[in-house]
């Protein structure tokens, strides 16, 4: 059976399963919490099954899925790898709150794929390494570049991983009332069953399964909302009307900064943020690694297109999501009598008119001036995550769809966590253990080490997540600035400029990374900004510094040897052999 047929059947079965639960709910045969638990058990069970079926004892399967993933499915897997808990749960809410200013994320998290397509993916595929530090070591002559790459890859991936596990814990808490620590370790188990036995091969096919669930879960509620109001289930095209209404109401209410407009003087920061997210996308090792898995250079090129297409489906919908939510709050809530509050408010709100109902930490409703009517300021938002969580009920959908959203959020967090975990453990086992510590290790020993390190990294991630360190969520946003400034210049120069040498690359990686890091520390702690660019956009300085330093320092030292220059030339042409790595394939 072809992959297309298998995943077609899988999608059909999942839809059928959701319909079946909906019927049971309609008949009153199944309580809400049981629906949520059913989703949890069934989806994680499916991921585990894929993980077990994809087990492997071959290094090329474990590290790069045998380089046999077709462009289309690698695109789906990249989509799930890429879209994290933040994209799924938080982005629409961020747009609800910020409007135009938040769109920097939407453009930024998609535009990076153009850079990936033209500068990196096809060339990295031709190069044919196992990890990003691997590429750096082969191109820049030795383990010094490998170690710098290794440290940056692990630093960026580990903070990102902790944020995903935190996301799982929060989702479990909000939908199942589970204790955060228990939720985090359930999430950990969910990640391990997918990746431990089959490495990249298992993670790839699990991510495809996770993508299908997350995209169905994301689009369904807002499509129904659109259908209900405009008779067309395509919110991406109908929300123009909604935007007009929002602007009209905002003008009535005397709002000065319209939702569809940029904050005054915000242009430079918008540019910096968007640029940073783009270059960061093209510099994050867990994404770059995915393009090692396609069968050919040609497939790598089209795979970037598929990746962006599948990511696009979600991001293209996100502005509509934010707009519909804002519209609902402005029309269904504001101006209403406090005696006529809609039902979703009681399900998701914490304190409604002085009465405690939940502890989800999403919003309160008060009546500040006591006139019995809700004003905009009477809706006190604590976390804009309420947008994605409450939309199914705002749309009047049964609880089954809320359960589906939970499954989607989990899929988004788990799939990203899988990719990150594999990046960390592969860097440690391949680059540190095999390439530096014990180059004579047997295949069995190397794979055993890889699996042990995978478990260790996962447990460490879950353990750190249980401390709920607030700074970590902020650090994830900085990972883009750091990864972009540290990796992107060295990778691009390594492919496009023969003259770039070891000294230049190491100096450039360190300089780019440190520039971003210093600006982040200065901005975060002392509000010191260059040209008023906030720390989250620090990559706008780090990236050029990285390029300049590689250029200048490379020219101060002799060019790389003939063998390396031949390597750079070889990578340009799709024809010919992939660089074999000491007979492991």
């Amino acid at each position: 059976m072809s992959w297309g047929k298998i995943f077609g059947l899988y999608t059909g079965a999942f839809v059928l399963f959701t319909v079946l639960l909906a019927v049971l709910e309609y008949l009153g045969a199944i309580p809400n919490r049981a629906i949520a638990y059913t989703y949890l058990v069934v989806t994680i069970g499916v991921y585990a099954l894929i993980g077990v079926l994809s087990r492997t004892a071959r290094p090329d399967q474990y590290y790069v899925a045998g380089r046999g993933v077709p462009a289309f499915f690698n695109g789906m897997a990249t989509g799930a790898d890429w879209m994290s808990a933040a994209s799924f749960i938080s982005m629409a809410g961020a747009l609800y709150a910020t409007g135009y200013d938040g769109l920097a994320y939407v453009s930024g998290w998609t535009g990076g794929y153009v850079l990936l397509a033209i500068y990196l993916a096809p060339y990295l595929r031709k190069f044919g390494a196992y990890t990003i530090p691997d590429f750096l070591a082969l191109r820049y002559g030795g383990n010094a570049a490998r170690v710098v790459g290794l440290l940056m890859a692990i630093g960026a991936s580990f903070t990102y991983l902790i944020a995903q596990i935190t996301g799982v814990g929060i989702i479990m808490g909000r939908f199942l009332g589970m204790d955060f620590n228990v939720g985090a370790f359930v999430g950990l188990a969910g990640i391990l069953v997918c990746s431990m036995l089959g490495g990249m091969r298992a993670v790839t096919w699990t991510q495809v399964a996770q993508y299908i669930i997350l995209i169905l879960a994301y689009i369904t509620p807002v499509a129904v909302l659109s259908y209900r109001h405009f008779g067309i289930p395509l919110p991406e095209f109908t929300y123009g009307q909604v935007l007009q209404d929002i602007t009209r109401i905002e003008l009535q209410e005397g709002v000065t900064k319209l939702w569809v407009d940029m904050a005054p003087g915000g242009m430079l920061n918008w540019f910096a943020l968007c640029f940073c997210m783009m270059v960061g996308t093209a510099g994050l090792p867990h994404i770059l690694m995915r393009y090692y898995t396609t069968p050919s250079v040609k497939e790598a090129r089209s795979s970037v297109g598929w990746s962006l297409f599948f990511i696009f489906l979600l991001y293209f919908t996100a502005p509509a999501y934010g707009a519909f939510a804002r519209w609902t709050v402005l029309t269904d809530l504001i101006g209403k009598k406090v005696t006529e509050l809609p039902a979703w408010v009681f399900r998701w709100g914490d304190t409604i008119l002085g009465k405690e109902t939940n502890h989800l930490g999403l919003f309160d409703i008060v009546d500040k001036n006591g006139d019995g009517t809700l004003q905009l300021t009477d809706f006190v938002i604590k976390s804009t995550d309420f947008v994605v969580l409450a939309t199914p009920e705002i749309a009047g959908l049964p609880f089954v769809i809320t359960g589906l959203v939970m499954a989607g959020g989990l899929a988004a967090a788990l799939s990203t966590a899988d990719g990150l975990l594999l990046t960390i453990s592969n860097s440690l086992s391949h680059d540190l253990y095999y390439k530096i510590i014990n180059p004579s290790a047997s295949i069995v020993k190397r794979l055993t080490t890889a699996r042990i390190l995978l478990v260790v990294a996962a447990v460490a991630g879950a353990y750190v997540a249980t401390f709920r360190i607030n700074i970590i969520v902020a650090v994830v946003a900085y990972a883009f600035a750091l990864a972009g400034s540290g990796f992107f210049p060295a990778l691009v120069m390594g492919i496009f400029w023969k003259r770039a040498n070891k000294q230049g690359a190491i100096a450039g990686m360190v300089a780019g990374f440190l520039t971003a890091l210093i600006l982040i520390v200065l901005g975060r702690n002392w509000n010191i900004y260059i040209l008023g660019v906030r720390e989250i956009g620090a990559g706008v300085f780090g990236v050029p510094v990285g390029f300049l330093v590689i250029w200048a320092v490379s020219l101060m030292y002799p060019p790389p040897d003939q063998q390396t220059q031949d390597l750079v030339e070889e990578v340009r042409y799709p024809r010919g052999t992939t660089m074999k790595l000491e007979g492991i394939e």
Binding site: G111, V114, F237, Y239, Q244, V260, W270, V304, R575, G576
Partner: protein
């Protein structure tokens, strides 16, 4: 082991020249597609089509669609260049 030296030198140079030029072209179009609507934001947002202020629409949806078109165009054109200069992968 096959090597790039098996490919005719003039073909290699021609291929890389066209590849570089095309890569620059895509880079410029990419830059314009998201920086353009940003810089012209005040002016473009006055234009409303089907309810969408244009700058908002580009930043949230239009630029994204252009990104996809650029990547697809790049893949198609590069496959053609591979064949034109005889550097395509043997399958």
């Amino acid at each position: 082991m096959a090597s790039f030296r098996d490919i005719d030198r003039s073909k290699r140079e021609g291929y890389w020249r066209e590849t570089s030029n095309f890569t620059w072209l895509i880079l410029v179009l990419w830059f314009v597609s998201w920086v353009g609507p940003l810089v012209l934001h005040r002016w473009l947002n006055q234009i409303v089509i089907f309810g969408f202020p244009l700058s908002f629409w580009f930043a949230g949806q239009g630029s994204l669609a252009i990104f996809i078109v650029l990547i697809v165009w790049y893949a198609i054109k590069m496959n053609k260049l591979d064949r034109k200069y005889g550097v395509a992968e043997e399958v």
